[in-house]
Symmetry: C2
Subunit: 479 residues, 2 copies
């Protein structure tokens, strides 16, 4: 993004006022709209607040902006054109719609990461750049031609990728299916979005693990769903809880992440799986199985998906490359009965007209290639190494203040804080010290938990990051 | 997709019954669900209907399926597992949700094209494969590395692409903006989806051109919007109509495609543009300007967008590569005030977590490259050539039966039928003869119109396609 040029002879404040004047005159900030605060702009542009104050004074003297105490700085209504009061009230439009904004903590984290790219990031639920198979993918991209078909794609997804996934699902996940049952999506996120928007109606009750990734997604509330909780212990949820939720609230769907659950890392136990199928089949209840982490299993075989035992057809299966290869490919998939695939492919055509063939084609080449398996093995070893580094650091820095179960796969460690601390204050103290994490309450859990994504920071950042986090935590406990 | 192997010693009907048994046992067709009809399956698999009848008989004898007169063929409820009646009622879920299915004609066209890829396609609103810059893009992909960043992207879009678009918009569209006002979307489709979902609320009234592409998009109804019509004549809409709709229905937004309007090909006149800005500014009404076709202008300069004259900040501008380069890149953009971009980027993160960096990066290289301008010039010449071929064919085959205004840009020709014909029957007759088009009623217009996309068929298909269409039309007029 634009930054003032420190080599230029023009003073910084003048560069900034020129830049803002341009953005205002181009319509980015229409008459009457609020400008970012002096503090925020100073952070964004990497200058002192006093420089921004001078730039604002310049714009004020030209009649371009107006400041009123307590209500911030706005673009003048009188300066622009003859009837400036009739510019559309854009901020009212921005507040409209039935779509809820992201959770405040998630927005705050994203904002902090945008402004300070150097923050040590235990928050973003993805692999660090060095864990992605970039070289392998570059090689494949140079070996193949991906542009033979640049028209609109089949709304169910690129057929060669669906065919490649049928083999992948059989070999790696024990799932037998056909390409006509597979739909390609923009990551698990879009699969969940399509399910909540198209298969459920506002007012419907659904059951969700507690804690769960799903609580971090306002999409469930945006779809008008009523959420009910299935507490997760070290063996996962208790299937009997589903039965009682069904009796009380007629829940219409269950959302689960059985293997290396996000955020707790739990693997749903074999015994309870049997009970789950029993309950689901008795109630005719569909289970959405989100399975992004299984192939990260640090030791031994990857835990099987529910779908591989789904003799009764109760499972909608969701998978993705985001957590095992590269989130930037934006490739996920769903395995579902014919009527569901047809419905969702039709709806997605209205939303985005399908995905670009290029990343789909790259993904198909990658899973069919001889690079795929070695990549997975390397990933498992490196993730385990990072997990161990995180655990060492926590044990060294905070032996008396945290408790956790060591995850055997996945990207995250779910950490209980043994002292009561205010979630938001802890996050701000951490950001001040140059580190971010996700407060547990984002996942619908009681406060007093933190999710550390050990996959995301660079190896050399983990110890530093935890030492900063420890400082932040101790600052709050002492004060 | 799967087809029976005609070289195999196994009879076709057995291959088909085995294939269906597999799909049923894998859960694609759960117990109780409806199978495709014999006719449809025969079409899909490219076999005689009698072969499918034998395959069904085979499955019936094994107790896997059941047929009842008048209600089609279903998967048996009794064969699979102990409590088969408790498989989720998937078809009920498929009917749920507030998202409307695509229009029947659009579904029928897609189905026909899937089943018979050899149909001559005047229906799909895109370029033929030979008009896409595939070689240029392949060269660029081999020259650059696109995998340096394979993590989640900025939800507003890849910054280098936004920067490239700022220059593009200035140079080609006379729009001055900054990268912070630009948002990248999955084509115009996603821009419209985000606007209708996030900036408007169910029950809101909006104004739409008549006829308009927008009527082909159930997304407007899915968002619960009330649609009001702005009739298009040869100079576009009449801005005074906006004023009266505002008085009567308090419309909250206007959707327009001012240049080479889809489907009519009209260019909104200079005089009416002035009136439009006047009305919009008096009412404080936002105008969504969809501008996908301008750069196809066959002769002379591309018509300017409204946004380039938008001194009052009334316009939300939408652009895309789909109609001028390749729809398969899935790259579109929006230029909007800050508050709108923030809101929409936040919402889109919940829907799909942003686009893959790969096609964004390719698109950025392409518009910055020396290939871009020559590609546009070649495209204009070839589109004009195809338009002329279409017009010649229509004049030769149907001189007495159709009337149209020659479009000066865009991909479509809007054709009035001088005899009354049933839209649906005409489409079926045409499909039978190996050609598809879009019936005018899809665009909300009175029946008696047809949209021909001359950009989509191959050059050598145009005359044959129109001769088939002429046969279909004459068959209905005679009978």
């Amino acid at each position: 993004m634009w930054k003032p040029d420190r080599q230029s002879k023009k003073p910084l404040y003048e560069q900034i006022s020129d830049h803002l004047e341009r953005r205002i005159s181009y319509g980015e900030f229409p008459p009457g709209s609020l400008l970012p605060s002096e503090r925020k702009l100073a952070e964004q542009l990497g200058v002192n607040r006093s420089t921004v104050i001078m730039a604002f004074a310049e714009l004020r003297s030209m009649g371009i902006i107006e400041s009123r105490t307590g209500s911030g700085t706005r673009v003048s209504r009188t300066k622009w054109g003859a009837m400036p009061k009739h510019t559309p009230n854009w901020s009212r439009y921005a507040e409209g719609g039935s779509f809820l904004p992201n959770l405040p903590f998630m927005r705050r984290i994203r904002e902090a990461l945008n402004q300070h790219p150097s923050l040590i990031d235990f928050a973003s639920g993805e692999l660090s750049a060095d864990l992605a198979p970039s070289d392998e993918i570059t090689t494949l991209m140079n070996e193949h031609r991906y542009t033979s078909h640049l028209g609109y794609d089949n709304p169910q997804g690129y057929i060669p990728l669906r065919q490649a996934l049928v083999s992948y699902l059989d070999k790696y996940r024990g799932i037998q299916t056909t390409e006509s049952s597979v739909m390609i999506t923009s990551g698990s996120q879009q699969s969940l979005y399509l399910i909540t928007q198209c298969l459920l109606s506002p007012g419907d009750a659904v059951a969700i693990e507690d804690p769960s990734y799903c609580y971090s997604l306002p999409m469930f509330q945006s779809a008008g769903l009523r959420l009910f909780r299935l507490p997760v212990d070290q063996h996962g949820i208790c299937p009997e809880d589903i039965r009682s939720l069904y009796k009380k609230h007629r829940i219409k769907m269950v959302f689960m992440n059985p293997n290396f659950q996000n955020p707790t890392g739990t693997v749903f136990s074999i015994e309870r799986r049997k009970q789950l199928f029993d309950v689901a089949s008795k109630l005719g209840l569909p289970i959405v199985e989100d399975d992004p982490f299984s192939l990260t299993a640090f030791e031994g075989a990857a835990p099987k998906p529910l779908k591989s035992m789904d003799s009764n057809g109760s499972i909608l299966y969701i998978g993705s490359f985001s957590k095992i290869a590269a989130s930037g490919l934006r490739i996920g998939w769903m395995v579902a009965p014919h009527s569901i695939v047809e419905r969702l492919a039709d709806a997605r055509q209205q939303m985005d007209f399908g995905l670009s063939v290029i990343p789909q084609s790259v993904a198909a080449q990658f899973i069919k290639s001889s690079y795929f398996h070695p990549h997975l093995e390397r990933l498992q070893i490196q993730l385990q190494f990072k997990r161990d580094l995180l655990i060492e650091s926590l044990q060294k820095e905070l032996p008396d203040l945290v408790k956790f179960i060591t995850p055997q796969g996945g990207l995250h460690l779910w950490c209980k804080l043994l002292h009561e601390v205010h979630d938001g204050k802890l996050l701000e103290e951490a950001i001040k010290r140059g580190v971010v994490f996700v407060p547990g309450s984002v996942y619908g859990s009681d406060s007093g938990f933190v999710r550390f994504t050990f996959a995301r920071p660079k190896t050399e950042e983990i110890a530093v990051g935890i030492s900063r986090f420890a400082e932040a935590l101790r600052a709050l406990i002492v004060s």
